[in-house]
């Protein structure tokens, strides 16, 4: 059962990513990216991360995709890359190196999978629940949490400064 859900979700994720890569229209690309984010959220549920499932849907599928769509529609830049790439040899070299990279990763994984990639410990049904995440976040990882709030504040101020009218 788990395998069936995984295979379907993985196929949806890969289709979303490839369609994002190949579609000419930026709005379609953003929507395919949304499909991919949704599939990854389902995988988080399979991996016992219900909190991250919610965060993924709210932040990625909600905020970030809306921001992308908003900017694409604001700029009217749906289709402005009709002109060919000036560096002609870039595309074949990029594809060759991407295939090499994925082959290398799979090779390393298959070699490692015999010994070190084995399940450790027993499954705790409460693992990854919002209560456990909150406890870890507000005790062990309190300093990074506060720093993250500063980062968000800096981004906020940065965006306001960037769009200030200079007279």
């Amino acid at each position: 059962m788990e395998l069936v859900i995984f295979v379907i979700t993985a196929i949806v994720a890969i289709i979303g990513a490839v369609a994002m890569l190949t579609s000419r229209n930026a709005v379609h690309s953003a929507l395919f990216l949304l499909l991919n984010f949704g599939a990854i959220a389902v995988l988080y549920l399979l991996l016992q991360a219900p909190f991250l499932f919610a965060v993924q849907l709210i932040v990625y599928a909600g905020a970030i995709i809306v921001l992308f769509l908003f900017v694409v529609m604001l700029l009217g830049a749906e289709r402005d890359e009709e002109d060919a790439n000036p560096i002609r040899w870039q595309a074949p070299v990029a594809i060759t190196m991407a295939v090499l990279l994925v082959g290398e990763i799979i090779w390393v994984l298959v070699r490692q999978s015999q010994d070190s990639i084995a399940r450790v410990g027993s499954s705790d049904s409460d693992f990854g629940s919002p209560a456990q995440i909150a406890q870890a976040l507000f005790t062990t990882h309190l300093l990074p949490f506060e720093v993250a709030s500063f980062v968000l504040l800096t981004a906020l101020i940065g965006v306001v400064v960037l769009h200030q009218r200079r007279s």
Partner: protein
């Protein structure tokens, strides 16, 4: 629980698709979306290892990665709008002002 290698393989595949997007597409928006895809695939690998090790630290790290990604997208898209207003294009080859 499925073997970890399934999830890591999917994560690697998505990451490489993201790399292809950065290398092949000329629109800055598309490069941005590909970077988001790569961040997501890294998150998937981290959540997989968190589940495999039954340790919450990787899930906390994914939480921070999502936070930083949100901040990055806000600033990046603001920059993109500024550049578009100046150059009237999102083609990445026109942004050569900092070239030495």
């Amino acid at each position: 629980m499925l073997p970890t290698i399934f999830y890591i393989g999917l994560s690697a595949l998505l990451f490489v698709i993201g790399v292809c997007g950065v290398l092949l597409r000329r629109s800055t928006l598309m490069v941005f979306m590909s970077i988001e895809l790569m961040l997501n695939s890294a998150n998937l690998a981290l959540v997989t290892f968190a589940n495999q090790r039954q340790s919450l630290d990787a899930q906390i790290m994914v939480f921070f990665v999502i936070t930083i990604a949100a901040a990055e997208v806000a600033v990046g898209l603001a920059l993109l709008v500024m550049i578009f207003m100046r150059k009237q294009t999102t083609n990445i080859d026109t942004m050569t002002t900092l070239k030495g």
